[in-house]
């Protein structure tokens, strides 16, 4: 087994037992980047020099540390992690995938980046993404599309396209992402990795280029559920610099992982198994459900009646917030002038400007905010009946590059199964559950707000079942 193939927990064990050095681990990922990035275009910036330098320092440090400290104080000691290029990294170019910021070098770290570094992680590079996180395929990047490693003629999903590909190919052991309507969960499903969108407010948004502030969630891609739990423990928590982050205690997700409740009740929302969902994906999900039933988990069909209104609601609220957030880019303090915005950013700015304007505000924006309440209530009601929900992540398998670029509405529809959870601010886990036609398929686990430990527990159960098959 090559070092880049390791999960975080395996790599930690190897480092603790001195089987290899931090430098060897980092070099292995860098080699993988050199080999695959020219084809897959997952990274906008590779921090080769910085990462190797830091790895050397860490190797010196490790001699002074006891293993206990690596486990406790530095839970990500020496682990190479990639960051979506939306996360500000001090001294490292941060483009948000847009030409507008092609020369922007932040003078501070996003809170997530600061926490990862404090936990001992090494930032190995900045990953490609749809510009401003606008997109479901990675094709809206001003730095060229990222390709799906399972089939280079297909999209890896988006907007966190490069992060998903980086983890799927071992270019990094984990990667950060942002999820506003599915931008972590959908590419995770398309690339066969684990993607976690935490509850809104669980992880600080400070220092991450804002897309839609009432929806944006910071999360991550990992190779397995265990690593997802480990990283969440590091990045979650209240941040003075993000007033919308919540002061709730951060539990030990990793420890709780193997202690799931004996009587989980899992709901199967019928509105997620609709026409337009590929038959083979449906079969795959239902097979998983059967496996769970055999394990004694209770399954119940439930209903979220306002699901079909979620996409229209989202495509009013999100562009409205986008138009406001992107108003700050004036090319005066940093970045290039507004004519550098790409087509999708322009489209969303205009859509938002329109639906917020007098005479239209009530019919579009206010109406959408009210329907959002109904969608939230749907989830509140359903979580009185069941603990968690299981659904497909995407209605289709990874589609072809270019297939939907000229049809924005079709592109928007690819997020139809991830958007409702975003509107309700609840956490979601995207989990690989095997392949169909040699392409990965993902299952989505949703839970009530701040029930991350539960969705991770169910994720772990499913992961074990799938790996045994």
């Amino acid at each position: 087994m090559k070092l880049y193939q390791l999960t975080i927990s395996q790599a930690k064990e190897g480092l603790e037992k001195k089987k290899f050095s931090v430098k060897e681990l980092v070099a292995s990922c860098l080699e993988q980047i050199k080999k695959l990035n020219p084809k897959l275009n997952a990274f906008i910036t590779v921090c080769e020099k910085e990462a190797l330098k830091e790895a050397k320092e860490k190797d010196l440090e490790i001699k002074k540390l006891r293993n206990l400290e690596i486990k406790g104080k530095f839970p990500l000691f020496g682990i190479p992690i990639a960051a979506k290029d939306l996360f500000c990294t001090k001294g490292i170019k941060t483009t948000a995938g847009s030409k507008v910021l092609e020369n922007y070098i932040p003078v501070y770290d996003a809170t997530v980046i600061r926490k990862l570094k404090e936990a001992g992680a090494i930032i190995i590079g900045k990953t490609n993404c749809d510009a401003w996180a606008h997109g479901s395929s990675g094709e809206n990047s001003d730095f060229g599309p990222t390709k799906n490693p399972f089939d280079e003629t297909r999209v890896p999903g988006g907007s966190s396209s490069g992060s998903a590909v980086a983890v799927a190919t071992g270019m990094s052991l984990a990667a950060t992402g942002t999820d506003t309507g599915g931008s972590i969960r959908q590419p995770a499903a398309f690339c066969g990795v684990v993607g976690l969108k935490p509850t809104y407010g669980r992880v600080s948004r400070f220092g991450v280029v804002a897309m839609a502030s009432s929806l944006d969630c910071m999360g991550h891609f990992t190779k397995d559920v265990k690593d997802a739990a480990l990283v969440l423990k590091v990045i979650a928590g209240k941040d003075e610099k993000d007033a919308s982050s919540l002061p709730l205690p951060v539990v030990d997700y990793l420890n709780l992982l193997e202690k799931p409740s004996k009587n989980f009740k899992v709901g199967l929302p019928k509105e997620y198994f609709i026409k337009g969902l590929e038959k083979k994906i449906e079969e795959r999900i239902l097979k998983i459900v059967k496996l769970l039933e055999k394990k004694g988990i209770k399954i119940k069909e439930v209903s979220l009646p306002h699901t079909k209104y979620a996409l229209a609601t989202y495509y009013i609220i999100q562009p409205a917030e986008v138009s406001s957030n992107l108003a700050r880019y004036d090319g005066i303090r940093y970045g290039l002038p507004r004519e550098n915005f790409g087509a999708e950013a322009k489209r969303r700015i205009m859509l938002g400007t329109y639906t917020l304007s007098a005479g239209y505000y009530e019919a579009y924006y206010l109406k959408a905010m009210k329907v959002r309440t109904l969608i939230r209530k749907d989830f509140e009601n359903v979580f009185k009946e069941v603990d968690l929900l299981i659904t497909p992540v995407t209605p289709t398998l990874p589609f072809k590059l270019g297939e939907k670029v000229n049809n924005p509405l079709q592109m928007y529809l690819s997020d139809i199964l991830t958007i409702p959870a975003s509107l309700a601010g609840i956490p979601g886990l995207s989990l690989p559950v095997g392949k169909v036609d040699n392409l990965p398929v993902g299952a989505q686990i949703l839970g009530p707000q701040f029930a991350e430990e539960k969705i991770l527990q169910l994720g772990r159960i499913i992961e074990r079942e799938v790996n045994e098959k």
């Binding site: 020369n103 003078v107 007033a243 108003a327 322009k346 205009m350 007098a358 579009y364 509107l423």
Partner: protein, 137 residues
């Protein structure tokens, strides 16, 4: 920028009403008490697209205007599905975690040095960002 156009956030003036009439012609008579609360015509024409772009400080080419006319109209048309939903008496959701009144002590703490804050500025003069002329005498 046209003042009091239908996109302006200013209170409705006579001009604004005149702007809205072509959009609603024929429908207004049939619609219920409050026509504003339902999505009516969702077709955008080139003039409207041009105007929205102006409000958003975006410069569009002729081709882009044409493309956006079609694409935005299609997306807005899709949103009509929301007309089906009964939302009488429903409170709007602006945020999902019900946090209220998040305060902190108003204390002075270190922040960016001027040189750091200006490090990405395309043009500076002393410790200031330098911009083009906005207001003329």
């Amino acid at each position: 920028m046209k003042k009091n156009s239908k996109f302006s956030r200013l209170p409705a003036g006579p001009r604004q009403r005149r702007w809205q009439i072509p959009c609603l012609s024929g429908r207004q008579a049939n619609s219920k008490k409050n026509p504003k609360s339902k999505i009516q015509n969702s077709k955008l024409d080139e003039e409207e697209v041009g105007h929205i772009a102006k409000l958003a400080r975006l410069k569009l080419t002729r081709e882009e205007v044409k493309m956006f006319c079609f694409q935005l109209s299609e997306v807005l048309e899709y949103m009509k599905v929301l007309n089906e939903v009964e939302t009488g008496g429903v409170e709007p959701t602006a945020q999902v975690t019900d946090l209220e009144n998040v305060f902190r002590e108003d204390e002075v703490s270190p922040s960016l040095e001027p040189n750091e804050a200006l490090s990405c500025a395309p043009a500076r003069e002393g410790n200031f960002f330098k911009t083009g002329v906005v207001l003329e005498k």
